[in-house]
């Protein structure tokens, strides 16, 4: 588990003077990004007692600095009064978009909401079948199209269907794409524009799925997806692995995009709201 990063810090430093190199190492290991790391180091080195810091102080200061950066309250997902709320799920290849789409549907379902899925990855082999299996497991409606058909048109069609049936949430799974590919990023822009024709505010949420094992590139991913689609949040996945998910701190710190959900496994129930205090205490 990713847990216990700070615990190992405490063990390392307890009873000894602070080894700055080692401290820096521990912070870098968390993929917090160099600016965040520098920020914590500066905060520590600027203290009057910098020469004789205890491990507990180090941990406290580091946590405080990270907490300062993260949002205090998590924004919940509420349905709209009389319209379908559209959630667009985006990200680079293989981060966990399709799985997170299913998990999010289950999450909302459990809260008593009605949900519909749109299989808007019309590109990757068996992507439609993959989401189809999930829809069947969850027993929810899914709108599917043909492979290589236009994802924007499919999302539009799904919106019409969801709206007609008074479904509260429509979650659109999209194909993985690297943020460096302008044509594919443009395709996402089109999905947004076409959805906006149905409801000027749609998609109401655009969530970027980020893999917790990702290093510095996560920030670049967030930057480009934000520019192309206007992100409203991040889902960080695979926190059941050894990745610390520190990259979401960097994304918040440097771009101001909040993390909304965490994924901790491959099963439908492995999704939870992101709680910054808990995240910092348990995961970092």
């Amino acid at each position: 588990m990713a847990f216990g990063f700070f615990k190992s810090l405490i063990q390392k430093f307890s009873g000894k003077p602070v080894d700055w190199d080692e401290l820096e190492e521990s912070l870098i290991r968390a993929d917090l990004g160099v600016p965040m790391m520098t920020r914590i180091m500066t905060a520590l080195q600027g203290r009057e007692d910098a020469e004789k810091l205890t491990a507990e102080t180090v941990v406290k200061v580091a946590r405080e600095e990270i907490i300062k950066v993260l949002p205090r309250d998590s924004v919940t997902l509420r349905p709209l009064a009389s319209k379908t709320k559209v959630i667009l799920v985006v990200g680079v290849n293989g981060t966990g978009k399709t799985t997170s789409t299913a998990k999010l549907a289950y999450f909302l379902q459990r809260k008593g909401h009605s949900v519909m899925l749109a299989a808007a990855d019309t590109f990757r082999a068996a992507a439609i079948e993959q989401l189809g299996v999930w829809a069947e497991r969850l027993n929810i409606d899914i709108v599917k199209g043909q492979y290589n058909s236009d994802p924007a048109a499919l999302c539009y069609e799904a919106y019409q269907s969801a709206d007609r049936k008074n479904v509260e949430f429509l979650i659109c799974d999209t194909a993985g794409r690297l943020h460096t590919k302008t044509n594919l990023m443009g395709e996402l822009g089109k999905v947004k524009r076409v959805l906006a024709k149905a409801d000027a505010q749609a998609p109401h949420e655009t969530l970027l799925v980020v893999d917790a094992t990702t290093g510095g590139n996560a920030l670049q991913q967030a930057k480009e997806f934000h520019a192309a689609t206007g992100l409203t949040g991040v889902i960080v996945t695979k926190l059941d692995g050894s990745g610390k998910g520190g990259c979401v701190v960097a994304i918040q710190n440097e771009l101001g995009i909040p993390t909304r959900f965490i994924g901790t496994g491959e099963k439908m129930e492995d999704l939870a709201f992101f709680e910054s205090r808990q995240f910092v205490e348990q995961m970092l």
């Binding site: 588990m1 190492e25 870098i28 290991r29 968390a30 993929d31 160099v34 680079v92 290849n93 293989g94 981060t95 966990g96 590109f123 990757r124 082999a125 068996a126 992507a127 079948e129 993959q130 189809g132 299996v133 999930w134 993985g176 690297l178 943020h179 460096t180 590919k181 893999d211 094992t213 990702t214 290093g215 510095g216 590139n217 996560a218 670049q220 991913q221 695979k238 059941d240 692995g241 050894s242 990745g243 610390k244 520190g246 990259c247 491959e266």
Partner: protein, 305 residues
């Protein structure tokens, strides 16, 4: 185009140009800049530290060339060293009979896609590859491989519907392969986290049964500091024979590859450079070295001087 790193180092070495040697005192700041650059490229902390210490030895005492920024010169030293490290003992695939290749790695790294790409690449080399679906876990994983196999035009083994025992599937597949005209078997396996003990035990058992000639760890070029943990655990459990680095068509710097190479001492054999099945090639160490250091054409500049 100068590299970011060389630009930074240029300031550090302002006064050294054309008259001086690289010494312990004037190199310290430079080494810090290099270390930061490596960390920003996702090279693991300890790997970066060790690497820098070794290269520093080499750089000390070198004459700073006329007409070249010392920063560029240092970067060149690092580049050459990095290339050597990334490319050392690059062997071709071991295709001795029964020529079984197992693809393993974290969830979503690119195993299934790389399995199909490898099949296509082998086919182009005149081999007759077979694709074998052993991911009984992910929804539609079998369908994914079967679709890709059709696109490549190679036979694909698909497990009986509902089968959950991967060893049994391995056994069935190995028997199936004997009846096929193909001569290289590529086993696609389910993604797993390296610290998920039950799943690691499961794949370990499959490896022991199959006795493959190649066990390739497929890794995403954007992997962060956990690369060392990932490579160490997979290597300990499976004794991997090589690495496949995927998604190099993005802008991830790919420093994780250095860490993985270092802790496993296994060559990086292939690179994935796109989603399409032909976007796959043997690995070029010098390109990745340049990328990790974030450099443009410094090598040419330094060599001309």
């Amino acid at each position: 185009m100068f590299s970011l790193l060389a630009d930074k180092l240029q300031d550090v070495f302002k006064d050294l140009r054309g008259h001086g040697k690289i010494t312990e005192t004037n190199i310290t700041d430079a080494m810090r800049a290099v270390r930061m650059a490596l960390l920003e490229a996702d090279v693991e902390f300890n790997v970066a530290k060790g690497f820098i210490a070794r290269v520093k030895e080499k750089a000390l005492g070198e004459e700073v060339l006329r007409g070249v920024h010392p920063g560029q010169q240092i970067v060149k030293i690092f580049h050459d060293e990095l290339t050597a490290l990334l490319g050392g003992d690059n062997e071709p695939l071991n295709l001795e009979k029964p020529a079984r290749i197992m693809m393993v790695g974290l969830n979503g790294a690119g195993k299934t896609t790389s399995s199909a790409k490898l099949a296509m690449w082998l086919k182009k080399q005149g081999k007759a590859p077979l694709l074998i679906a052993c991911d009984l876990h992910r929804p539609a994983a079998i369908e994914q491989l079967a679709t890709l196999a059709r696109q490549v035009g190679v036979p694909c083994f698909t497990p009986p519907p509902g089968e959950k025992d991967v060893l049994k599937v391995g056994r069935l597949a190995a028997d199936w392969a004997k009846e096929q005209p193909g001569n290289v078997q590529i086993y696609d396996t389910a993604g797993r986290q390296e610290i998920d003990e039950p799943l690691i035990q499961e794949i370990k058992a499959l490896r022991e049964f199959l006795q493959p000639q190649e066990v390739l760890l497929v890794a995403d070029a954007a992997t962060g500091q956990q690369a060392v943990s990932v490579a160490t655990h997979f290597h300990q459990a499976l004794n991997i024979t090589g690495l496949v680095l995927t998604k190099l068509d993005g802008d991830a710097r790919g420093g994780a590859a250095l860490s993985m190479r270092q802790v496993t001492q296994r060559p990086i054999k292939f690179a994935g450079i796109g989603e399409k099945l032909d976007q796959f090639e043997p690995f070029f160490p010098d390109r990745l070295a340049g990328r990790i250091l974030g450099m443009g054409d410094i090598i040419g500049l330094v060599e001309k001087a």
